[in-house]
Amino acid sequence: MTATALPDTDPPVTRSWYARNKLAITPWLFLIPAMIFFLIYVIAPIFQSIWISFYEWDGLGAAEWVGARNYVELMDDDRFYTSLWNNVLWLLLYMLAVPAGLFVALFLNQTVTGMRIYKSMFFFPFVISQVVVGLIFTWFYNPDFGVVGQVWQFFGATPPSILGDERYVTYGIIAAGLWPQIAYCMILYLTGLNNVAADQIEAGRLDGAKGWKMLWYVVLPQLKPATFIAVVVTVIGALRSFDMIAIMTQGGPYGSSNVLAYYMYETALSEYGYRMGYGSAIATVLFLIMLIYISYFLYRMYQDEKGAR
């Protein structure tokens, strides 16, 4: 009787193989379902796409191996360069969401009555679908009956057709995209501000720091984790931009508001033809750009993990 209360001192030979290797086997039992799903739908398709990018394929018939021809064609494709350039614009201008979100968060970080309602109302744009945001802004920008049109007419000016003009269209869509993104950054910063150490602020105040100086030297360093995540989600949001473009312009006029994500879709799956191979080549380029950010993010995570042990 006493022997069973003291395990492992004299392990019985009858212990099954599972019992002996329990700690080595169990994690895999827990992991297998998620791994199978992830492998089939995420990991394998990445490699398949890269593979398909070396083929000319309409998605139905036989695929023809063309080597690097799709990539060579990309190098001479004006529409590809327009999309790439627009992606750069998205990346740069989308970054405005980070300081703008911080600004709104600072404005809202008070404890006036009803503040919670205000905070959630400011967060509103992030909760609604980008399809709806796109529709709202298409209507908002309409030169004939949209809000922009009405405001311009009120001042007696001819309203610009923001979504119909190659010069403005990308900026117009980015501005629409910033609306929910600022809300997202705002919520990250509001949570960050909640965790700012009060004693450091007080110490800063005693040292005579206030306003911008306090923000820059005392508050912002403490908001670093929030800033990091805000930048990460904004970069990813910028490179993923698809919904807004599909809803607002479909890449037009004349492909001037296209981005890689939409151009890829258009090439592979639309009335312009089913060029799966060429589309996959565009997707591969987009993936490689994203991979830079993914690697950076993983590197940061790895540093944290090492520090945690």
Partner: protein
């Protein structure tokens, strides 16, 4: 607290702040308010150019019922629920298991596997598009609700695993250690000890994934074709083509599409924000 609490400022500043706050909110939500106003207008308002001012009459019931009677909106809505709810259940369940494995057990593959889940969560959708569509066509899952559910669940598993693993990692490990010494089986530890403790994480993930999937548009366009399996996001776009120049109906439909995630957000606000920031800021 930063910035300085407004109560410590003069009466004038406090007053100015309280006046400016609602004005700022109205400006911030102006695009949304404009579409709310449009959704209750009679069609004559739009034809006569009264789109910015006060509606000449309120046709709330007429417009909102017209969305359902004149289109497939009911089907779209049902599809959205049929896609979103199973996805939430499936991806959160998978992630509870995988997150537990990656957080509790120390084995060499744990960190690389975790990083694969994290990286997969960030890839652009387009790199998956052609093979996933092809796979769905070949398995007969193209243009079905099930096809969308399986893909979404698989993809969201990346984010959910990241979230769950970090949450479980922060739990006191002694608890599990002492349960093991007591001789409790590994699955029982997971089921009776860890699962009750991660309930807040499950709630946070559930609302987040609900919103993400409800709002998905890309996969809805890539993996569906007909009306039978289209969710509301793709549906709203179809309506936009169908209701040309009927902006009051398009507005009403868009707002209806936004109701479930907004309701979810307001009901579960604490969990929603905890989810957004906890998954992010460790």
């Amino acid at each position: 607290m930063f910035p300085k609490p407004i109560e410590k400022s003069g009466v004038a500043t406090q007053f100015a702040y309280k006046v400016f706050l609602p004005i700022a909110l109205i400006i911030w939500l102006l695009p949304l308010l404009a579409i709310v106003a449009t959704s209750v207008r009679p069609p004559s308002d739009i034809n006569t150019g009264n789109v910015f001012g006060w509606p000449s009459s309120f046709q709330i019931i007429e417009n909102y019922t017209a969305v359902f009677t004149q289109s497939e909106a009911t089907t779209y809505f049902l599809n959205s629920f049929k896609i979103t709810i199973p996805t939430v259940i499936l991806s959160v369940s998978l992630a509870c298991l995988s997150g537990y494995a990656l957080a509790i057990y120390k084995f060499r593959a744990a960190l690389p596997l975790f990083f694969i889940f994290v990286a997969g969560n960030f890839v652009p959708f387009q790199i998956l598009m052609v093979p996933v569509r092809d796979l769905s066509v070949k398995t007969g899952l193209y243009d079905t609700v099930t096809g969308l559910v399986l893909f979404h669940a698989a993809f969201q598993t990346g984010f959910c695993t990241l979230f769950m693993r970090n949450f479980i990692k922060a739990l006191p490990f002694d608890l599990i250690e002492s349960a093991r010494i007591e001789g409790v089986g590994e699955f029982k530890i997971f089921w009776y000890l860890v699962l009750p403790l991660v309930r807040p994480a499950i709630a946070a993930l559930a609302v987040l994934i609900f919103t993400f999937i409800w709002n998905d548009f890309f996969w809805a366009t890539v993996l569906t074709q007909g009306e039978a399996s289209k969710p509301i996001t793709a549906g709203v776009r179809a309506l936009n083509g169908q209701f040309v120049n009927n902006w009051h109906l398009v507005s009403a439909a868009s707002l209806l599409a936004a109701v479930p995630p907004v309701a979810m957000f307001f009901l579960m606000q604490r969990h929603f924000i905890a989810g957004l920031t906890l998954g992010a800021v460790k």
